[in-house]
């Protein structure tokens, strides 16, 4: 079998009782909440921090994504933040002293139509101008990178080429969460599980704490990183968010010897697939079209996904689905996240990562921590403010973000 994951100690963090007050309370103990706490403690010297999580640490979308990391986004604003994120991914294993199996095996984004080809080549040029590694590959070159892919013309949507980002890759998502949690804990951050926020304490227009299922916690500042439930949480503080929450599914096969050397994504036939270190094929589906919080979606979405995968990779026809699951993703209408101050003083929001939050985890935490610490955004997240929906400066990433994150 492929590479065995590293061994772990029995405990990586304490499970403290909440104190009565903190300088900063982060709502949501997923990847984004944990990185935010990490950067607050490690880079801004703010260690009197609690992360409150209504379930268990990293049990939401952090445990449910397909672990793909890339930065080949079209627009300057997105390329800047996602490329920063990729650079942070490259240094975090050493910084956190934890091998979370970040593997830069590259990503192919396939083109199947002339429109795809034009858009993809444009994106390659835009990426290069933004310092993001990107190249355009012919079908033959696609075959060189990924020998098991069907580049023949006997399929419904033959491959006409692909963009390739060699520095992209995958990481083991639960290990990423554990690495962050351990370091947060070492730095003095309280990670409080089974602690659901039920309300906010306000003094005029200023937030001064949260009501939780483990009691009242006073806070100098509160940062929301609640992913699919962001609108519910923000609404309790009187803040409305332009978010729609959808089910998003993924699946894995049984374990195989390593056969798939890279990450392959196709917006057009709607599939993205990689092979995890343990050996399972990891496939992501598209969102279900309706608003949903059930952490499950329709099986016909999985079927469509499998059909596309088998056409692109004929050998996968003999594989079996081992497990499917769903999460709740918070989508915005421009397919870009919101990392922003809010109309309520000392209340900050980090949401709207939609189907692509995992890759953004480090830069999300870095910029959100900066926003909270300084009460003003980092230059990288200035464009990702709530105000953009009023000013009209949207960051339309449906092309590069699209179905396939």
């Amino acid at each position: 079998m492929a590479v065995p994951p590293p061994e772990h100690p029995d405990f990586l963090w304490r499970n403290p009782e909440p104190k009565s007050s903190y300088d900063v309370v982060i709502v949501g103990g997923g990847g984004h909440g944990l990185t935010t706490a990490y950067y607050l403690a490690a880079h801004h010297g703010i260690t009197n921090v609690a992360v409150v999580e209504r379930g268990w640490l990293a049990g939401g979308n952090m445990a449910r994504n397909t672990a793909i990391i890339r930065s080949n986004y079209l627009w300057d604003e997105s390329a800047a933040i996602y490329e920063q994120s990729l650079k942070l991914w490259e240094q975090l294993p050493e910084e956190l002293d934890y091998d979370f199996l970040f593997s830069q095996r590259g990503v192919l984004n396939l083109a199947h139509t002339l429109g795809d080809v034009r858009e993809s080549r444009r994106r390659v040029e835009a990426n290069r101008l933004n310092g993001v590694d990107a190249e355009w590959l012919s079908p033959e070159e696609v075959q060189d990178v990924c020998p098991i892919i069907n580049t023949g013309d006997d399929i419904r949507y033959p491959i006409m080429g692909a963009t390739y980002q060699p520095r992209a890759g995958i990481a083991k998502h639960d290990h990423v969460a554990w690495a962050l949690a351990r370091r947060c804990d070492e730095l003095g951050v309280d990670l409080i599980q089974n602690c659901e926020v039920t309300g906010f304490l306000k003094d005029g227009n200023r937030v001064v704490g949260v009501e939780t299922t483990q009691g009242r916690i006073h806070a100098g500042k509160v940062g929301l990183a609640a992913a699919g439930h962001s609108s519910q949480v923000a609404e309790m503080a009187g803040v409305r968010l332009p978010i729609q929450s959808h089910p998003l599914q993924a699946l894995v096969s049984e374990l195989f010897e390593p056969v798939h050397p890279t990450v392959v994504m196709s917006n057009h036939v709607h599939v993205y697939v990689s092979q995890a270190h343990k050996g399972e094929l990891v496939l992501g589906a598209g969102i279900d079209q309706y608003v949903g919080y059930g952490q499950r979606g329709g099986f016909h979405v999985i079927e469509d996904q499998m059909a596309a995968a088998v056409e692109l990779f004929p050998m996968f026809g003999r594989a079996h689905v081992l497990r499917t699951w769903g999460g709740v993703v918070d989508t915005t209408l421009d397919a870009s996240p919101i990392i922003s101050k809010t109309p309520v003083d000392q209340l900050y929001v980090n949401c709207g990562w939609g189907t692509g939050g995992f890759k953004g985890t480090p830069a999300s935490g870095m910029t959100f921590a900066h926003t909270i610490a300084h009460d003003e955004p980092h230059p990288l997240n200035v464009p990702f403010s709530l105000e953009r929906f009023e000013t009209g400066f949207l960051i339309d990433e449906h092309g590069a973000a699209g179905v396939a994150h």
């Binding site: 519910q232 929450s245 949903g292 059930g294 009023e390």
Partner: protein
């Protein structure tokens, strides 16, 4: 897969339908009276409830007609449907409609 009761055709598979998001979002009567914040509310802000949601569907592969539904966004159960029409009196999804009702 959900079984969605089209008010014109009866229960059909979800794959025959396309989603239209929140129901009863009307175009502003006087667009010039709206400031940027109000426009943003109209264009980008929608209800996102965890629970009952009044929403629009279109039976694309059937009668091709739009209709309104009240669906639970946690259980995905469709509570009621009605032909397209004005927002029912009361306005809250829980008390809005039944499948026998409607404004046709």
């Amino acid at each position: 897969m959900m079984l969605i009761p089209c008010p014109h055709c009866g229960p059909r598979n979800e794959t025959e339908f396309a989603y239209g998001g929140q129901a009863h979002v009307s175009h502003p009567e006087d667009p010039h009276a709206l400031d940027d914040a109000a426009w943003a509310r109209y264009l980008f802000y929608r209800e996102n409830p965890k629970g009952l949601f009044a929403e629009r569907w279109v039976h694309s592969a059937g009668c091709r007609r739009w209709f309104n539904a009240v669906r639970n966004t946690v259980t995905y159960e469709v509570q009621s449907v009605e032909p397209i029409g004005p927002r029912p009196p009361g306005g809250r999804p829980a008390e809005s409609t039944t499948s026998e009702g409607g404004h046709a």
